[in-house]
């Protein structure tokens, strides 16, 4: 933070917001948020809220509830920004992780009662546009290649769980496979991914 002599967190934030934070990267912004700078949090919101809302809504499939989740995400970020460590991963990944867990917490609190019989559920996540977003990063390209090497049902099960928050029984129902089989497929799929990515 040494180079950021921005006097974080004190008065006049409303004025300092856009121009002063525009040149900062996400880890810099998180550093300012950790020091109590509300304008940095707002910049973070402006840059990341669409991506994070998309992640939450893919899991919750209800815009109102997804908005609640994103609100919780930014409250958590305001409290925990100091825990972000740029040596341990990207800020994007850190924020996405907080978002998924906030959405999953809501889902679990409601007993995962969301309907899963929408025949299109999961299609968006395997569309060419989705794949294009995935392969925009080097890690994403590697993961895409490793996902492509899985059995289609394993791959789809893992995507339904990760992207849409489906439970084992819901995935089993969706794929029309027995629960035990589904569980062991997913487990084998995860092991294969670990192997492939190592």
């Amino acid at each position: 933070m040494g180079h950021l002599a921005l006097d974080p967190g004190r008065g006049g934030m409303a004025f300092s917001a856009a121009p002063m934070t525009a040149a900062l990267d996400l880890p810099d912004l998180l550093g300012l948020v950790a020091a109590g700078d509300r304008s940095a949090l707002r910049s973070l919101y402006e840059r990341q809220s669409s991506r994070l809302f998309g992640i939450a809504n893919a899991i919750l499939r209800d815009r109102d509830v997804a908005a609640d989740a994103v609100q919780e995400v930014f409250l958590r970020v305001a409290r925990r920004a100091g825990q972000f460590d740029r040596g341990r991963g990207s800020a994007e990944a850190w924020l996405a992780g907080i978002t998924r867990h906030a959405a999953l917490d809501i889902l679990r609190a409601r007993g995962r009662e969301l309907p899963t019989d929408d025949p299109a559920l999961g299609d968006e996540a395997v569309s060419p546009e989705a794949e294009a977003r995935l392969i925009a990063t080097a890690e994403g390209r590697r993961l895409r290649d490793c996902l492509a090497a899985l059995e289609p049902k394993n791959r789809f099960g893992i995507i339904l769980a990760f992207v849409h928050g489906l439970s084992h029984p819901q995935i089993a129902e969706r794929l029309g496979t027995p629960l035990g089989t589904t569980k062991s497929w997913i487990r084998r799929g995860l092991l294969a991914l670990k192997e492939c990515l190592s």
């Binding site: 994103v70 609100q71 409250l75 998924r100 999953l104 996540a125 977003r133 995507i159 928050g165 670990k194």
Partner: protein, 233 residues
């Protein structure tokens, strides 16, 4: 139960990140991660492996007004000096409360005494922050007790008092460490019931004269922080 077998543990870490664990198991993993660096590393490794899949969710503009909602939720608590008086209570309850409160206060006063303890321990400290994350109190653990120094003294209404609490990790409810005498910028507490430990949450709430009548925080949290080893300790 988190399995001991490394292969099973890694599989559970993977399912935690994938999101397929139930609420109870997920909570177990989150709690265990705080004290189990190997498990934490396993979870982080799975986050690194699977995390890029988040890009498969299509970005979507959130509903208008969401930032304003977030900002309201982050809003500072009411000014300390402008807090509304507590709602009047039924007389019978009030009397019972007053009796109990003086007993509580007597007990609390006894706690606000330095208790010498011989064993050296890793230096733990934290800075209690306001709801706007402004530093308010420096807290240092010392010989089994806590030393507090006010960084930015604020007045408290005449009919209110600041009460200090500690919440050890995993505890269901905070333990009162006593009342902070009005105008006091430096105090030392030597709680008999708890020992300072890493991760312990320290908070100061605003309570009625004599301290919380219930033994649990009832007023707004003014300042909060978590004890951690001082760097270089």
């Amino acid at each position: 139960m988190i399995p001991l077998d490394p292969v099973e543990r890694d599989a559970m870490a993977a399912e935690y990140v994938l999101g397929t664990l139930g609420a109870g198991e997920a909570r177990e993993i989150e709690q265990a991660m705080e004290t189990d660096p190997a498990l934490r590393a396993a979870v982080e490794a799975w986050q690194a492996r699977l995390g890029p899949m988040s890009a498969l969710a299509a970005p979507e503009l959130p509903p208008p007004g969401l930032w304003e909602r977030i900002e309201r939720a982050l809003a500072p608590p009411p000014e300390v000096v402008a807090l509304p008086a507590p709602k009047p209570r039924a007389p019978v309850l009030w009397r019972a409360w007053a009796l109990g409160a003086s007993a509580v206060a007597a007990g609390l006063a006894a706690l606000l005494v330095l208790r010498p303890a011989p064993a050296p321990e890793p230096r733990l400290m934290t800075v209690l922050l306001t709801q706007q994350d402004q530093p308010a109190w420096l807290v240092e653990a010392e010989r089994g007790g806590l030393r507090l120094a006010s960084l930015n003294p604020q007045p408290v209404p005449d009919d209110r008092v600041m009460q200090l609490w500690a919440l050890p990790q995993g505890a269901a409810a905070p333990t009162s460490l006593g009342l902070i005498p009005a105008g006091e910028g430096r105090i030392t507490v030597a709680p008999a019931a708890i020992r300072p430990e890493p991760g312990m949450l320290i908070e100061i709430t605003l309570e009625p004269q004599g301290g919380s009548p219930t033994g649990r925080p009832t007023g707004p949290v003014l300042f909060i922080g978590r004890l951690a080893p001082a760097s270089g300790a």
